[in-house]
């Protein structure tokens, strides 16, 4: 019970600050926290990236393995995205089967990559109807101080960019770099008391009335959207949030991702 009271006090504090045009850590409303990325930390993975945004830490690993295609797409590789909100990462996370939050996180990241056709799945066919490459993106949260989605999505695209397809390991031959055709970047915009902010920390997330994740591509197009939070949004707000999302994504792309 004590926990809930503290939660409420924190929410009020965040809310009051924002009403005065301020954020607890001194950032502007449209500033991200510092982002640091480290690549290829996991030698057992075919591509991996540790992304840190402020105190939020996510480790994304990609593994590529041969397997059977889905019956309805016999000539296409398989893309699977999975997220684990492991209890190590937050006092609020619990062990057990994936809950709705981890499913949402994985699906939003997946949608951005699928929607932008970042991976040409037809190129991942080894033998039609029999054998294709399966690309597993595993999102492992390590420390949750808010905005896991943006961190995970950045980790996913950066890991994919570094993937070597393990042809030799499986006695096969072919092009071993994974062809990447776009660089989708997720930016989550939240509304708190009528104000729009990017990159919410965990307290801002709990004070937010609504939240929109905008995933946009190198050409400025959108390849994924996800609204969450308890309140509705006006059309005007949504348009504004998308503009912010695309602009911030452009800045992140320029800094961390290569031109495709």
């Amino acid at each position: 019970m004590g926990q809930e009271v503290i939660e409420d006090i924190r929410k009020d504090y965040v809310y009051d600050l924002i009403e005065q045009g301020k954020r607890a850590d001194g950032r502007g409303f449209l500033d991200f926290r510092d982002i640091t990325v480290e690549r290829d930390l996991i030698k057992k993975a075919d591509g991996s990236t540790r992304v840190q945004i402020g105190d939020t830490v996510v480790l994304v690993g990609v593994k590529v393995e041969p397997g059977a295609p889905f019956p309805d797409t016999p000539n296409k590789g398989v893309l699977m995205t999975n997220a684990e909100l492991v209890p190590l990462a937050s006092p609020e996370f619990e062990s057990g089967p994936p809950g709705e939050n981890s499913i949402e996180l994985a699906r939003v990241v997946d949608r951005g990559i699928r929607g932008s056709e970042t991976i040409d799945l037809e190129k991942l066919c080894i033998e039609e109807g029999e054998k294709v490459w399966m690309v597993f993106i595993d999102i492992h949260t390590l420390d949750n101080d808010g905005n896991l989605v943006d961190a995970a999505a950045l980790g996913a695209i950066m890991s994919l960019l570094n993937v070597t397809i393990p042809y030799e390991q499986y006695g096969l031959t072919g092009e071993d770099t994974l062809q990447i055709r776009d660089t989708p970047v997720a930016v989550t915009v939240v509304e708190i008391g009528g104000n729009l902010l990017v990159d919410p920390n965990v307290y801002e997330e709990s004070a937010a009335t609504s939240k929109l994740t905008v995933i946009s591509n190198a050409d400025g197009s959108i390849s994924g959207l996800q609204k969450s939070g308890s309140s509705g949004l006006t059309e005007e707000k949504i348009v504004k949030m998308i503009e912010i999302g695309i602009e911030k994504a452009r800045e992140i792309r320029e800094k961390y991702l290569p031109k495709i």
Binding site: K44, K63, E65, N82, D138, H140
Partner: protein
């Protein structure tokens, strides 16, 4: 994995160039996670393990509470990308057993009677595995418990010994584990020489076991010194800053 026999010892040296009683390089970072009450990152050769401690906090569900002392929960989990063939996410029989023996390895040092009805939760994530992950996890967890300020009698230190090409050696790597004849993880309370975890897979003669245990205990003492040094370093540093 191919199962053909390979030579693990050549000219009196292991494939990695290590001596028979030599540990892999160890790196310990204390207090690496913000949300956790205590945390530790532990590298043992190519193993990368991260431990977080939460609590003592209210025990859920309530019927698991112990009216006389805290209950320690321990979860050992492997990231899907931590191994050669992707591991299906979530607990399996192996990880459940490891979680249980690791908890029992730590239970004896924690002053659980100070916190009746609560849970002390230990979460270990193996980010990259190269044999010896349970020992790396216990070493990380023990430091994370200290970092969380949980009253303890001492740290617990852990390492495995094994038998490869007929020789008893310390701290097997994955190749040695796959092709070797035996693997025996040990955890110990260094100050009292009390063994709190002992498992064995494979086949050892009695003399080999006895020698192996001695080698493991010496290894544990070395790890203990590194664990202590990491804690001292963290807390002497933060003391200066504040």
């Amino acid at each position: 994995m191919k199962e053909e026999k390979i030579e693990l010892i050549k000219d009196g040296k292991r494939l990695s160039g290590r001596g028979f009683e030599e540990l892999r390089p160890i790196k310990i970072d204390v207090g690496v996670l913000k949300r956790a009450d205590g945390s530790c990152y532990f590298e043992l050769g190519n193993n990368k393990a991260l431990a977080a401690v939460y609590g003592p906090r209210e025990m859920h569900p309530r019927h698991f509470q112990n009216a006389k002392m805290a209950v320690v929960k321990y979860r050992y989990n492997m990231a899907p990308f931590s191994v050669d063939d992707r591991k299906r996410p979530g607990p399996d029989r192996r990880s459940q057993e490891i979680s249980m023996v690791s908890r029992k390895a730590l239970d004896p040092v924690i002053l659980r009677e100070l916190y009746p009805k609560t849970a002390i939760e230990v979460y270990v994530e193996v980010l990259q595995s190269d044999a010896g992950t349970r020992t790396a996890g216990i070493n990380a967890a023990s430091v994370a418990l200290a970092d969380a300020g949980i009253p303890m009698k001492d740290l617990v230190s852990s390492v495995a010994i094994g038998k490869i090409d007929g020789e008893v050696v310390l701290d097997l790597d994955a190749k040695e584990d796959n092709f070797g004849e035996a693997d025996m993880p040990v955890a110990m309370i260094a100050r009292t020489n009390t063994i709190t975890l002992l498992q064995m897979d494979g086949r050892l003669k009695k003399e080999e076991f006895e020698r192996g245990l001695k080698i493991a205990m010496t290894g544990c003492r070395k790890i203990y010194e590194l664990q202590r040094a990491a804690l001292v370093e963290k807390y002497s540093k933060s003391g200066n800053e504040e």
